[in-house]
C-alpha cells in the first residue's frame, strides 16, 4: 500500500495522530505537498462526503475525519505555502442574522476545508453589511449562508440584496442551506445554489468554482 493510500485510509477512519505522522513521513520521503493534499487527503474527505450522502457514515465519522484532515494540514501547510500551492477557492460562511444555530454551518465549513476551499467563518447572527465587508476584504468567490428557522431564512434574501446594493453580487456565488430552506426558496431569493447536506455543499462549491 502506498503511503498516500495509507494516509487516505487513516484519514477516513479519523486517526488524526497517525495521519499527522504519515504526512510528516511523506514529506520527508520527498512526495510533493500538492500530491499529499490531493491524493492523500482531499480524495479521502471526498470519499467520506460521498459515504455521508449515502448514509454509510454519519456526522461523528465526518467530524473525526475532518479532525484528522486538520491534523494533517497542520504539518502540510508550511510545505504547501513554500511550494506555492493555493487553496482551490475561498468562501465566506456564516449563520444569518437572527439565527444562532451553527452545527450545520460548522459541518459545511469542515467539508469545504476538506476539499481544499479556504473558509472565512463569520460565525452566527451575521448581516449583509458584515458579509459585504468580508467578501471585499477576502476576495472570496463564494458566500455560504445557513439558516435554521423559517423566521430567519429571509435574512438570506436580505444578504443577497446587500451584495447587490454593494455592487458585488456578480463577483460571488451565493449558496444557501439549512433545515427550512428548499431549492424553490433558493430560486425565489436569487441564490446560485441550494444543497441539502454538507457533503453536497462541498461538491457544488467545487463545481461553482470551476464554472
Amino acid at each position: 500500500m502506498s503511503i498516500l493510500t495509507e494516509i487516505s485510509d487513516l484519514l477516513q477512519k479519523g486517526r488524526a495522530k497517525q495521519v499527522k505522522e504519515l504526512v510528516e513521513q511523506a514529506l520527508s520521503d520527498g512526495i510533493a505537498p500538492k500530491d499529499i493534499l490531493n491524493d492523500g487527503m482531499i480524495s479521502a474527505m471526498m470519499t467520506v462526503g460521498q459515504k455521508f450522502k449515502n448514509n454509510e457514515v454519519y456526522v461523528p465519522e465526518v467530524l473525526i475525519a475532518a479532525r484528522a484532515m486538520t491534523a494533517g494540514l497542520e504539518v502540510l501547510r508550511p510545505a504547501l505555502t513554500q511550494a506555492g500551492v493555493k487553496p482551490v477557492g475561498k468562501a465566506v460562511i456564516c449563520t444569518v442574522k437572527g439565527d444562532l444555530h451553527d452545527i450545520g454551518k460548522n459541518l459545511v465549513k469542515m467539508m469545504f476545508e476538506g476539499v481544499g476551499i479556504e473558509c472565512v467563518d463569520l460565525g452566527v447572527d451575521v448581516d449583509g453589511e458584515q458579509i459585504v465587508a468580508a467578501v471585499k476584504e477576502s476576495g472570496a468567490q463564494i458566500v455560504c449562508l445557513s439558516a435554521l428557522l423559517t423566521t430567519t431564512m429571509m435574512s438570506q434574501k436580505d444578504i443577497i440584496e446587500a451584495l447587490k446594493a454593494a455592487g458585488i453580487r456578480e463577483s460571488v456565488k451565493v449558496m444557501v442551506g439549512g433545515a427550512p430552506v428548499t431549492q424553490s426558496f433558493a430560486d425565489e431569493i436569487g441564490a446560485d445554489a441550494y444543497t441539502q447536506d454538507a457533503a453536497s455543499a462541498a461538491e457544488v462549491a467545487l463545481q461553482l468554482l470551476a464554472s
Binding site: 461523528p60 479532525r67 437572527g98 444562532l100 444555530h101 452545527i103 460565525g123 435554521l148 423559517t150 423566521t151
Partner: protein, 374 residues
Amino acid sequence: MIRINNRERANAILHYRDYDRMPVVHFGYWRETLRKWADEGHLTREEADRWGDGNRTDDVIAQKLGFDFGWGATLGQHTSLMPSFETKVIRDLGGGRRHVQNGDGVTVLESDGAVSIQAEISHLLVDRRSWEEHYLPRMRFSEERVNYEAIGRHKNTAYADRPTGLHIGSLYGTLRNWIGMEGLSYLQYDDEELYREIIDTMGNLCYEVTKRTLDTGVTFDFAHFWEDICFNSGPLVSPAVFAEKIGPHYRRITSLLMEHGVDIVSLDCDGCIDALVPVWLENGVNTMFPIEVGTWNASIAPWREKYGPDIRGIGGMNKTVFARDYAAVDAEIERLKPLVALGGYIPCPDHRIAPDAKWENVQYYTQEMRKAFG
C-alpha cells in the same frame, strides 16, 4: 353513536379501534408567537407569558383557537441534572450579546432579538474528570427525583378528557446538549468506555425513576422519550451505534412500561428520522412525533408501508401553512385525509407554532379539521 372523550378517542385511534371523531391537537407555540398574538389583541399578555405545556393557560389558549388539547403535556420526572447548573452571565459582549452559562453547564451566545437554538461557545463536560466532578454527582438516583406530589395530582386527573403521558427523559439528546455535537462525536471515538458509561448512567437513571413512578400504581396512556438527534438529512448518530449503546436501555424501559400496561411509547425527534426508525421500533418505541414535514417531507405513509401497523404517528401537519392563507390550510387538510384513513395516526402541527402564524389561520384550521374528520 357512543359518546367518548378525547382520551378515549386518542387511545382508540392509536389502537386501531373505532372512534367518533379525530381530536384536534397542537404541540404548543413559540413564546414570540403568543406575544405577537397578545399584541394583536387575541390573548392577554399574561396568557402569553404564562403558557406552558398542559397548564391552565394552555387550555385557555387552546380553547380560544379551537384545539381540544396539547399533545406536549406529560408528567415529567427528574431524569437529568439535579441540581442543574446555575444560569449566569459569564461575559457581556455589548450590543445586546452576552455569553451565558446555561443549566446544562454550557456557555452559549445569547443575542437580543435572536430566538433560535443558541450557539455553543464552550462546554464544561469535556472528559472523564469533568464528568466525574461536575456531572456524575448530579445524575445519581435519589427519591427526590420522583415527584410523588405530582403523581398524586396525576392520579386525581387520571380520568381527565385527554390522554395521560409519562415523560421518560432522554439518553442521547441530553448528552449532546451537555457536550455539544462535536464533543460527543469525538468522545464516541476517543473514549468509548466513558461514552458508554455516561449513556449507561443516563439509561439506568431513567429506568429507576420510571420504575418508582410506575410502582405507585399510577396509570398512563403513553410514555414519551425525547431525543432530537436528527437533522434534515438524517441522524446525528449512526443507527448501529444507537442500537448497540442506547437500544438496550430503551428495550429495558419499554419492557417495564409494557409490564405496567403502557403499550404506546412515543419519541420526540425532529429532523429526518428514517434511518433510526427501525432501531426504535426494535426497542419498543412505536409512535413517532412530531413527524416534521419540513424540507424532507416526513410522513406516516411510507413508514406504515414499510413497517405495518406497528408504527403509529402524531404530528405530520405542515405548520408553515399557518403563515399563508385559508386555501393553504384547506390544501394541507386535504393532504392529511389519506394519512388519517391509514389509522393509528393523529395529525398535529409538526412542531411549535412559529411567530409567522396568523391567528385566524390557526382558528380556521381547527374548525376545518372538525369538519373534515368528524
